[in-house]
Amino acid sequence: MEETSLQKDSVERPAATPTRREVYEAEVRRRSNRIALISVVSVALAIVVLVPLAPGWEAVQRSFFNGRVFVETFPGLLEAFLMNVMIFAWSAPLIAITGLVIALCRDTRAPALFPLRLFGIAYTDIFRGLPVVLVIYIIGFGVPGLGLPRPWNSPYIWGTLALVLVYSAYVAEVIRSGIDSIHQSQRSAAASLGLSDQDTMRYVVLPQAIRNVVPANMNLFIALQKDVALLSFIGPVEIFRQAGVYKSLYANFTPYVGAALIFLALTIPATRYADYLMNKQNRART
């Protein structure tokens, strides 16, 4: 299916009269769309009609979907979300770089560099084996406890560092799987031209590997964007903590719903885009 539609673009043919097959396919498409629409509408109707019949609905509506609270807290939430964006913005590049370095460490073969390799293995094993919250607690509370001078005692810095440590372990694994996916014949070709191992990695293997794992890494960074909220446990007033403040202030849960909407506004398009890239790559490969 995909292939024929791809080829269709490249074949030049007057677009005037659709073929018999195209007419048939258009009809099938219209019918599927009709059925899908009807079933979505009936499910939505069922929810809208049935849920309000539940005994606790009024109370839930008051405490989670309060219009006035929503309007009053939303701007404050957005502002707090800037903190999430900032933490994300400076941790993401650090994670990408650290992840790459760890992946390369794990791939070293020279005996003199064996300690590096060991370090890479230990690093990925440890940080993938721990819950993120735990690392944030240990580093975010532990290091400032050493009594460092300002600004080095800020849980903001060390909490973010905890995120960097954990996520770069995952990114390293993804990059390593990308390196493994490059066929041996590419290395043979490079070696036969007299390229050194380092040049082969840098110019032949890595560029292809990184390209292959862009979608997988995007999914990791979407997860990171959500996990920034975990820093609220150790101090920085980001959106989740701000929502908590509003909740106490208004004695109402609506701010959490507002926060959820803000997250979704960002993560859903990003997830869709990552899926699109992934599909495109799978298609290109077959």
């Binding site: 014949s185 490079a190 036969s192 390229l195 040049d199």
Partner: protein, 243 residues
């Protein structure tokens, strides 16, 4: 040592499977040697041993009177002198044709793009690809990709070229354009070793044809002799199957 490249008693095993069982072969300067034989007889492995992509287990390989098979020897300088082209092209898909060709001369020999440009352009033009230099491999036909792979190997200015069934993956109508490249190289006096299933081509151009059978060179000689009066029964059987 008169031969450019000499193999003496070369043995190569993968696990318990011995693929080369003592190969002796001499390739003289400017000579074209064709390796023929059934699938699995060890042609590819032998070629990969010649430019040290596979370490050999026993025997010696001499290049210009120097033993290059010594364990622990740095293989890189040798590989610069012995180029190889594979059946599956193995171009780097993320680089344009011209970047594929320039990568090794730039990194290994330290030449700049500007140094290389005239010579590389000339190679592309010579092999009919002057207008394809900026294309990516997936924008080229199989025959064009294979010619780029040949240019890529030639750009290192090797003294010997190895070709491993370089027309086997091509559609029949594209085989000719790649064989023409080999004819051209032959005329220039390039020393070449080919594993090939193109018997007509081997007969036309080879100085020497070697019949490989289960890891041994069973019979070798000028194509006229080997193709018309093979001595060994197995050579006869193989030739009657492919001719």
């Amino acid at each position: 040592m008169t031969a450019k490249l000499s193999l003496r008693g070369v043995r190569k095993r993968f696990d318990y499977h011995e693929v080369c069982k003592g190969i002796d072969l001499d390739v003289a300067e400017g000579e074209m040697v064709c390796l023929i034989g059934a699938s699995g007889s060890g042609k590819s492995t032998l070629l990969r041993c010649m430019n040290l992509l596979e370490p050999i287990d026993d025997g010696e390989i001499w290049l210009d009177g120097k033993d290059i098979s010594e364990p622990g020897l740095d293989p890189q300088p040798v590989r610069q002198q012995i180029g190889i082209v594979f059946q599956s092209y193995n171009l780097f898909p993320h680089m344009t044709a011209v970047e594929n060709v320039m990568l090794a001369p730039r990194r290994v020999r330290g030449l700049s793009r500007d140094d290389l440009r005239p010579r590389v352009t000339q190679l592309f033009t010579r092999f009919g690809l002057g207008d394809r230099m900026e294309h990516y491999p997936d924008q080229l036909s199989g025959g064009q990709q294979q010619r780029v792979a040949i240019i890529r190997a030639l750009a290192m200015e090797p003294q010997i070229m190895l070709f491993d069934e370089i027309t086997s993956a091509l559609d029949p109508e594209l085989v000719g354009e790649v064989l023409d490249v080999l004819r051209d190289l032959r005329k220039q006096g390039m020393t070449m070793v080919l594993a090939t299933h193109e018997m007509g081509f081997a007969r036309e151009l080879a100085d020497k044809v070697c019949f490989l059978d289960a890891g041994r060179i069973l019979e070798q000689g000028p194509p006229k002799v080997l193709f018309s009066q093979p001595r060994e029964k197995r050579t006869k059987a193989f030739l009657s199957r492919v001719l």
